[in-house]
């Protein structure tokens, strides 16, 4: 086997071209798994973070539980889940979503905490209801911090998705696993490389979103320069 490894070039473009259909399918799967994980993670984190922000004493238990989830090694978590939820997207997502929660909740709470007290007081004094203060004042102002959290969660998840190859999912992780099993470096480089490229692109897109959602921050910077 070592002989075969030496004889083969490190990266065979021909093999990649022959498997373009496969690449497309795994890439799509990777994006879907990531999108689902971050989307569901956000749907769970958002109400928890708003609650923890409103009722401060909930913050410690919420971050303790999500922090605990975050520390479980991903391999072990998937291994534990398979007997319960079997080899399925559900199994993959339970794991992936768990890892986004701590990051998202912490960032949303930090964003809400960062809203200046005088702005909230003025809003209340002008006759905003509590709900209007949350949706029209606190959330828009927390948005840059929230998107920053989504960026970290997304990039982390893109890396983690490859691990789910072990339970038959994995997106681009499929190629990495394939390469490892057959000592085939082309597949490893392909899977790892595309995963990194995907993470970089996602990060850049979200950075753009962050920029679009906070025009007032650009205005502040313009003044600082002027």
């Amino acid at each position: 086997m070592t002989v075969a490894l030496v004889a083969e070039p490190l990266f065979e473009l021909r093999w990649v071209l022959d498997h373009l259909g496969d690449v497309g399918q795994r890439l799509t799967e990777h994006i879907v798994l990531t999108g689902l994980a971050v989307g569901i993670g956000l749907a769970i984190s958002f109400p928890l973070a708003v609650l923890a922000h409103r009722h401060r004493r909930l913050y410690a238990p919420v971050t303790w539980v999500t922090g605990l989830l975050y520390t479980i090694p991903s391999l072990a978590l998937f291994a534990l889940l398979v007997p319960i939820t079997h080899i399925s997207t559900t199994t993959a997502e339970i794991g992936l979503v768990s890892y986004t929660l701590l990051i998202l909740i912490r960032n949303i709470v930090a964003g809400l905490d960062g809203v200046p007290a005088d702005v909230k007081e003025a809003a209340q004094g002008m006759g905003y209801t509590d709900r209007q203060i949350l949706w029209r004042v606190e959330l828009p102002l927390a948005m840059p911090a929230i998107v920053a959290g989504i960026r970290i969660a997304t990039v982390t998840t893109i890396g983690l998705v490859t691990v789910t190859a072990l339970i038959g999912k994995g997106g681009l992780g499929y190629f990495i696993l394939l390469g490892l099993r057959r000592f085939f470096s082309t597949a490893i480089i392909l899977g790892a490389g595309l995963s990194v490229v995907l993470a970089v692109i996602a990060d850049a897109l979200l950075l753009g979103l962050q920029w679009l959602l906070a025009p007032w921050r650009r205005a502040a910077r313009r003044r600082a320069v002027a």
């Binding site: 200046p116 005088d118 702005v119 002008m126 006759g127 209801t129 102002l141 906070a214």
Partner: protein
């Protein structure tokens, strides 16, 4: 006398059930169109008192009436939309443009877009906010501009009552003085009922129709016009709080027009020197004003007249400063001590001579009233 616009009746606020009362049985009436300044040392309960009027803080007991209606029986959110609110740090929404900030309350109460646009433009004009500022974000504005946006926002739905919590506290002294003047000018036109909180007694003296000087627990030490408080402080606490230079501070409140102006020595330029010297001697100042057809030309003294036949031939010196009926006695006093003639010359219109003020005249004003 009409009913007061705002009436606090035996209002108490305790932040902890068993703790000291921040506000202890306060009763205070504020008339319509009046600017009342609550002033006192920090922790005296002045801000707490103000925030109970729009229920940002709920009173523990007592009654608060605004325009005859008990605020505690109203929806706090609707109540607040009907009361202008300005805070020290302005509290502008950083993610909204200036125009949107000003439009905050009109939008909350559901005005039509066109009416909102018109009102925003109107307020921008009233508060000297350049039209091109309207599309900017608060972070792009200077402190003075932000303050004016804060005031414009509070005035947006033309509320009869305004609450202002140290509204000029966050800008530098030069800008502050200008903003205070502009705001007083505005208030003369709008005649809002204003509750204004500050720890700065000089600001209180300048802005207030009446000042409530509060001690710890929002205990009213004195509630009167600035003039009365300076002339006749009700307690040692008040006297200490208003501080040094009480006399000068009072002079700043009295206008030249409020006291009798002295005639002073006056000559026409055409008269002979001998006659002018007689007039100088009669008044005993050692000089005389020179006035032609009612217009003030300047002054001459004995020395300048020496060797001339008529006053017109002598060197006529200009007064270094003059005051008008609208000037304060403090400005008049400043003019007196900085001029060589030792009087303040009073003019009106385009340099028309009215008379003079002397130190003796001004101090009589302070001592007797």
């Amino acid at each position: 006398m009409a009913n007061p616009m705002i009436s606090l009746r035996n209002v108490t606020k305790r932040f902890q059930a068993d703790g000291q009362a921040a506000v202890r049985g306060l009763s205070l009436d504020i008339d319509e169109g009046e600017t009342v300044v609550l002033v006192g040392p920090s922790g005296c309960g002045k801000t707490t008192t103000m925030k109970m009027i729009n229920r940002l803080i709920e009173p523990t007991s007592g009654e608060i009436l605004v325009d005859g209606k008990n605020v505690l029986q109203q929806d706090p959110v609707l109540l607040r939309r009907g009361i202008g609110y300005v805070i020290q740090t302005f509290g502008l929404l950083p993610h909204r443009t200036v125009a949107d900030n000003i439009a905050t309350v009109p939008k909350l109460v559901g005005w039509e877009e066109r009416r909102i646009d018109e009102r925003v433009a109107e307020l921008a004009a009233i508060l000297h906010l350049d039209e091109q500022l309207l599309s900017r974000y608060p972070a792009e504005l200077s402190g003075g501009q932000r303050q004016r946006v804060g005031v414009a926002r509070a005035l947006a739905v033309d509320p009869p009552v305004m609450l202002m919590d140290e509204p000029f506290g966050a800008v530098d002294p030069i800008v502050r003085a200008r903003l205070q003047d502009q705001f007083m000018e505005l208030q003369r036109r709008l005649q809002k009922t204003i509750v204004f909180v500050t720890h700065d007694i000089d600001e209180a003296i300048k802005m207030a129709d009446r000042i409530a000087i509060l001690n710890i627990g929002a205990v009213v030490e004195q509630y009167a016009s600035p003039e009365v408080i300076l002339r006749d402080p009700a307690s040692d606490f008040v006297e200490e709080f208003i501080g040094e230079e009480r006399g000068l501070k009072r002079l700043a409140l009295i206008k030249v027009s409020a006291i009798e102006i002295e005639e002073g020595p006056v000559v026409e330029p055409g008269i002979p020197v001998e006659q002018a010297k007689q007039i100088i001697e009669r008044y005993g100042f050692g000089w005389t004003s020179v006035v032609e057809d009612g217009r003030l030309l300047g002054w001459v003294d004995d020395q300048a007249l020496e060797g001339h036949r008529s006053v017109a031939e002598a060197e006529i010196r200009r007064f270094s400063a003059a005051v008008t009926a609208e000037s304060s006695l403090r400005e008049a006093l400043d003019s007196i001590v900085s001029s060589r003639t030792n009087v303040a010359v009073v003019i009106e219109g385009d340099n028309d001579y009215v008379g003079i003020l002397t130190v003796g005249r001004i101090s009589k004003e302070i001592v007797t009233k």
